[in-house]
Amino acid sequence: MAGDETKHLPLEDLHLAAGAKFGAFAGWSMPLTYPAGVMKEHLHTRDHVGLFDISHMKLFEISGPGAAALLARACPLDAAALELSQSRYTFFLNEAAGILDDLIVTRLGDQRYVLVANAGNAAADEAHLRAVAKGFDTEIKPLDRVFLAIQGPDAEAALSSAGVDAATLQFMHGIEPRQDWFMSRSGYTGEDGFEIGLPEKDARALLGSLLEDERVAWVGLAARDSLRLEAGLCLHGQDLTAETDPASAGLTWAISKDLRTSGTFIGAEALRAILARGADEKRVGLKPEGRQPVRAGTALTDADGKPAGRVTSGGFGPSVGHPVAMGYAAAPLAKPGTQLFADVRGSKIPVVIVSLPFTPHHYRKG
């Protein structure tokens, strides 16, 4: 974002008042931590409710007679087959099946969908979608919303206390409970939780209630990252890039069998070729031995010192109490139990390939 003006959250004053420390992320000035600190914020989310301002992420409404067809072209997704209020995790792929962004698409109406894009990719996503949309009868509308994530075992109860009925909403479903609101049961922590896009005025009113609830505490971007990493969830730009494809990323579960064999989405042919010959490398969980974290960008070698892969996300898992990482390993090595070595400032740290997630998911499924 060099040369661009740093963007500020509409609710920045609330974060300042809460004592947040800010840092730059994807062109935005974001709260990284609050006075409680990343450890406590992380654990509070797993035990109670973490409140995250994710207004850096972008919501797009896609509507019109060609909306489903556009999404089926832009994403490996049978958008017409989604039920009302059903959400799906999907991607924008390039022609080589490289992942341009990972997204959540929710069907809101017969000819109406909402798409949630990552902050760093939002502008590129919009340009891409508009380019693909030529010839489709659709309207693409970026929504001006505050976007909040309410995550943790008491999320439903806390929302209910704040006057938002969330009990009937199932995991990976989204609805419009009020004018210009979009609420989905989803998140990026591995916990039960909700994401709500809403006008700033409504957000301030809702937060007024939520923050009076002692179960609810602000959580910054630092703990958002440690929570998602423990949950084995990918961060685009690190674990997923235009150079990785859904097969090597272990995300083919997000693409139906029918679409894998006969889909006409962008990148379909390339993905079929990759699936036919097998991915060269696979995304894996990595558990460093000892207490020293292994960070993104670290090279992995096998027992003989030969290149074996790389770390794409790494840090410390406050809930599991040890360092956690994920990355890519050469396909023949990419099995739980394989020991590799991470080159950290000249020392070889043993790391073991493990199944993801590090902490079990606690999603509320129907």
Partner: protein
């Protein structure tokens, strides 16, 4: 009587008998956040001013701590191996990082006293 000095990189040195105990300031630990690992140096290691002496790792990132003066490591704080959070809870006490024998005590002249450091961090 030990004398305490501060650096612009937010380290403190408590000097007595030609040996400095070095740590990071409370301001620095607050900026770093919860520490989860401290990579400690071996005794006997010779450092020049500006060399990386210790790496402190928070949940999110690794940061170097530099030798504020020339010297030789005499001891690292082994308690940090099992409890790195001591740096957060007692940055200027039990959370010290290493001790070093000073090679040139005149280098201390360029460092700040507590009042100057407080002005430095504002």
């Amino acid at each position: 009587m030990a004398k305490t000095y501060f650096t612009e990189d937010h380290e403190w040195l408590s000097v007595e008998g030609g040996v400095a105990t070095v740590g990071i300031t409370d301001y620095a630990q607050e900026q770093l956040g919860d520490l989860v690992f401290v990579e400690l140096p071996d005794a006997g290691k010779k450092l020049a001013k500006g060399d990386t002496a210790v790496v402190v790792e928070s949940v999110k990132a690794a940061s170097d701590v530099y030798a504020p003066v020339d010297g030789e490591i005499t001891e690292a704080n082994g308690a940090l191996s099992s409890d790195p959070a001591l740096v957060n809870t007692a940055a200027t006490g039990d959370g010290w990082l290493w001790k070093m024998k000073l090679a040139d005590e005149s280098q201390l002249d360029g460092l700040m006293d507590e009042a100057a450091y407080k002005a430095h961090i504002g």
